[in-house]
């Protein structure tokens, strides 16, 4: 037995929370071990202890039966433990090889020997099937390839244990398949992989064993062969959850929100939305699928006129609102739930009550004064109606959990009675219970006849909620499918920019082309 890693009785306490309570975890050489749990279950803390980022209050870490000390990430790397963070730790302006040797001493004395490093890197990438050009500038590479750089960085340091934190969150289905191929190769190579995730399907697909955490404790460790998705969900949440939204059949009404030939640029002047058309009807959820960064955020912001519009029109209930102010958009009937709930959707320093009237501050008034009593009344109603768990309406909104904050924002935007609702990544980072609640509210709003534009990177969410799914790629709609009959493969291909029926047949040729472009 070699390179077995054991974490014994790990305890870590943060102010107010016991993040890890006597956690035991064993990782064998040559296995893919999934670490499953809701947000706040203690997975990240455990992995950060393993990576030397946090110190533990008590407990022991052993490699091949010997106690090791992990005081910093440097110690971890020296022991062959490496981590790919959810947010990549790459210098965008540096080349692949420069990023790889960052922090190492490669070369002769003070001089950097990038050529030798490049050779080694090429050798590694061939061996592990990670196609890469060492000289490419990292910032220009697609996300999936950047992730490869992160993995190669670890292999360059000869990591035996690779920790990947939510690695598929930003990938297309195809990139995900490629990643899984790489992980399987690493396993054959005798290396271990810890996959931190909350996506059950992926665990069932690739992991050998899975450890489930809840409330800082390990609930169970299972062989994949001897468990199933339902059991894992129950272990993770502590109760039965039915993550199938029951969508009632319903005839959509008139077109409420229309976008015509919209063109929008981002801060750097790149055109992110390039001649986009769509139409959302009353009582309908139109889903926008796509890998992050294909213009979805810019589309949402342009609809609200939070972003300058280069050309095209936004039409609300038949009236052109393209260039009206944000305040007028709100008054005329578009609500917006932004992707970034802590920095855009709410003011975390202010109370729940003050956040409940964000965007409505001119509505709650008495003469020249604020209608503070009415505003507080409505905040209380919001908390009750949407089941927001808070220490009271005077509680700072920033102290709410992600799910409760999202319920507050979503509730506020729904309750203002707009005809159209633009919702961006409503469940990103939320745990299963909160996802259930948010989905329920969106469907309820649909039933009330609102026209909902739902932007999400989670296909599962779109398939469950949307009536139609439009796939966005590089600022355009690649195609619109009925959610009822949609296939994941078809949507996945469109997300990667491959369109048209019979795409499967053309798949092989395109695969080559795709690989060529990432080289």
């Amino acid at each position: 037995m070699k390179h077995t890693l054991e974490m014994r009785n790990i305890v870590k306490r943060f102010p107010g929370v016991l993040a890890n309570n006597n956690v035991n975890l064993t990782i064998q050489a040559g296995e893919i071990h999934a670490l499953l749990g809701e947000n706040g279950a203690g997975k990240s803390t455990l992995m950060q202890i393993l990576y030397g980022f946090h110190s533990m209050d008590s407990g022991e870490i052993l490699i091949d039966g010997e106690t090791v000390r992990l005081g910093s990430p440097k110690d971890a790397i020296a022991l062959g433990i490496g981590m790919v963070h959810q947010e990549f730790m790459l210098v965008r302006r540096f080349s692949v090889v420069e990023n790889t040797v960052l922090g190492l001493r490669e070369g002769n004395g003070p001089l950097l020997d990038l050529r030798r490093a490049s050779e080694k890197l090429k050798d590694l990438s061939n061996r592990h099937g990670l196609a890469l050009d060492p000289a490419a500038e990292v910032g220009l590479l697609p996300i999936g390839v950047q992730q490869r750089v992160e993995i190669l960085k670890l292999l360059y340091r000869d990591a035996r244990l690779l920790i990947l934190d939510e690695p598929t969150a930003v990938l297309t289905p195809r990139e995900k398949d490629q990643l899984f191929g790489v992980l399987r190769k690493l396993r054959e190579d005798g290396r271990s992989v810890v996959l931190v995730t909350h996506k059950l399907a992926e665990i069932m697909e690739i992991a050998d064993r899975v450890t489930v955490m809840r409330d800082g404790q390990v609930v169970a460790t299972r062989e994949i062969g001897s468990t199933n998705g339902q059991e894992l969900t129950r272990l993770m949440v502590g109760r039965e959850v039915n993550l199938r939204a029951d969508k009632s059949a319903q005839k959509p009404g008139a077109a409420i929100l229309q976008v015509e030939e919209l063109r929008v640029r981002d801060e750097t002047g790149h055109e992110k939305v390039r001649g986009l058309n769509l139409e959302v009807h009353a009582g309908e959820i139109l889903g926008i699928a796509g890998v992050d960064g294909n213009g979805q955020s810019e589309l949402a912001e342009a609809v609200m006129h939070l972003r300058e519009i280069k050309s095209g029109r936004v039409i609300l209930k038949g009236a052109d609102v393209t260039r009206l102010s944000v305040a007028l958009h709100r008054t005329l009937g578009i609500s917006y739930v932004p992707a970034d709930r802590r920095h855009v959707g709410s003011v975390t320093e202010m109370s729940v009550a003050d956040n409940a009237i964000l965007g409505l501050q001119r509505k709650y008034r008495r003469g020249i004064f604020r209608g503070i009593r009415e505003a507080r009344e409505s905040a209380r109603g919001l908390v009750a109606r949407f089941g927001i768990r808070t220490g009271g309406i005077d509680f700072a909104a920033g102290k709410l959990s992600g799910g409760n904050l999202q319920k507050l924002i979503l509730g506020r935007e729904i309750m203002r009675g707009s005809a159209a609702l633009v919702v961006e990544h409503p469940t990103r980072g939320l745990d299963v219970g909160a996802v259930e609640a948010v989905w329920g509210e969106l469907l309820r709003a649909r039933q009330e006849g609102k026209a909902i534009l739902l932007i999400s990177a989670e296909l599962e969410e779109l398939l469950n909620l949307a009536d139609r799914i439009a796939v966005m790629f590089e600022g355009r709609i690649m195609g619109v499918v009925d959610a009822a009959g949609a296939s994941v493969e078809e949507i996945g291909l469109m997300m990667a920019g491959i369109t048209a029926p019979g795409a499967a047949a053309a798949g092989l040729g395109n695969k080559e082309a795709h690989r060529g472009e990432t080289l």
Partner: protein
């Protein structure tokens, strides 16, 4: 392992906790300064008695304290409006000077035989408030415009604009507004334009009433009016403000205008209440001390008047202390600066508590150790 400082689970932000930490900081500053007194061979008790008795224990001294309080409080209020709106304005020296110049110009116009001629005080005062406020408000609003529309850095621009304003003042008093005579200063303002004295036998003038009214209005604006809500949202988070349909650029320009206007009122009050003539150097750093007062008051308009009174009083007491106990008045400056630093530092006590048990042997285990057993 027991730690000396243990993080509180939630910061204690009750008014009592805030008052207690502020008071503790102040007392600590006084304790440290007491050693400085000792090095001059003076008794700290006598020195402190002199420092506080003169401004707060004598009528005359209290009058002087009030005179110093009014401009400090008005500038502190301006600081609160701008900083809470996310506009880090530092140009209050300039606003003070512009406000003082504008009101002096108006007052001299009402001198007998001047262009306007004498007008009754109840007409003059609102006019003076308007002129002082608007002149300095536009002065600061210009910086707001540069920040909001052109993306300029208000810290640098407002600091530099102080010099420009002071040069304008120097030009006015040595050029167009200069009184015949040797000194670069204006004529004395007509008696009818002076703010009335409010405490018989003292120099205290009605400026303090203007400052109190301004504090009430600023409180009302920030706490009770939709506009104040929008300013505060803008200050906390401009992205959220834009999202909420608030015109961030306009709000910033408005905050700059209000802040400048309050700074201008400080100049007006000083001019019509105490100086009674315009000359170079009337600002004397009050535009910066006012910012310090706002910080000490934790950007809370309700706390501004008492804080400014304490600060203004101490500078009056410093002079008395120098006379009586022959201790340099600059020690007071040390005391004031220490107080500011310590008030900010003592804030940590609201987030951490001190574990005195680490000093005693056989300290009981902390919660962490308890849990790990």
């Amino acid at each position: 392992m027991a730690k000396l400082f243990e993080r509180r689970l939630t910061p204690s932000d009750s008014p009592i906790a805030i008052f207690a930490t502020t008071a503790a900081a102040f007392l600590t500053a006084m304790l440290v300064t007491a050693f400085l007194f000792l090095s001059y061979g003076a008794s700290p008790f006598q020195a402190y008695f002199a420092l506080f008795h003169e401004p707060f224990g004598t009528l005359r001294g209290f009058g002087y304290s009030l005179v110093r309080t009014s401009p400090l409080a008005l500038i502190a209020l301006g600081t609160i409006v701008s900083w809470r709106s996310g506009f880090s304005y530092l140009g209050f020296e300039g606003c003070f000077v512009i406000g003082a110049s504008a009101t002096a110009w108006l007052a001299l116009l009402t001198a007998p035989g001047a262009r306007i001629g004498p007008i009754p005080f109840f007409l003059f005062l609102p006019l003076a408030i308007f002129v002082g406020f608007v002149a300095a408000g536009l002065w600061a609003g210009l910086v707001g415009f540069v920040r909001a529309r052109l993306g300029g850095n208000e810290v640098l621009i407002s600091l530099m604009s102080n010099y420009v304003a002071i040069f304008i003042l120097q030009y006015l008093v040595s050029g167009p507004m200069r009184a015949p005579g040797s000194l670069p200063e204006t004529r004395i303002l007509p008696r009818a334009t002076w703010l009335p004295f409010i405490l018989p036998g003292t120099r205290a003038h009605a400026g303090i009433l203007i400052a109190i009214a301004a504090a009430a209005l600023v409180w009302m604006l920030l706490e009770k009016m939709p506009l104040g809500y929008e300013l505060i949202v803008t200050g906390f988070n401009a992205a959220a403000a834009r999202y909420a349909g608030i015109d961030v650029g306009r709000r910033i320009m408005l905050a700059a205008f209000f802040a400048g206007g309050l700074g201008g009122l400080a100049g007006m009050v000083e001019e019509l209440g105490s100086q009674h003539r315009l000359m170079d150097g009337i600002n004397g750093g009050v535009g910066f001390v006012g910012i310090v007062v706002a910080l000490l008051a934790r950007l809370n308009p309700v706390a501004v008047i008492p804080t400014a009174l304490l600060y203004g009083g101490m500078s009056v007491g410093a002079d008395a202390m120098q006379r009586r106990a022959s201790i340099p008045s600059s020690i007071t400056f040390i005391l004031q600066s220490l107080a500011v630093l310590l008030v900010l530092a003592f804030d940590a006590l609201r987030y951490y508590k001190i574990n005195f048990s680490v000093f005693s042997r056989g300290a009981p285990p902390t919660a962490t150790e308890e849990a790990s057993k």
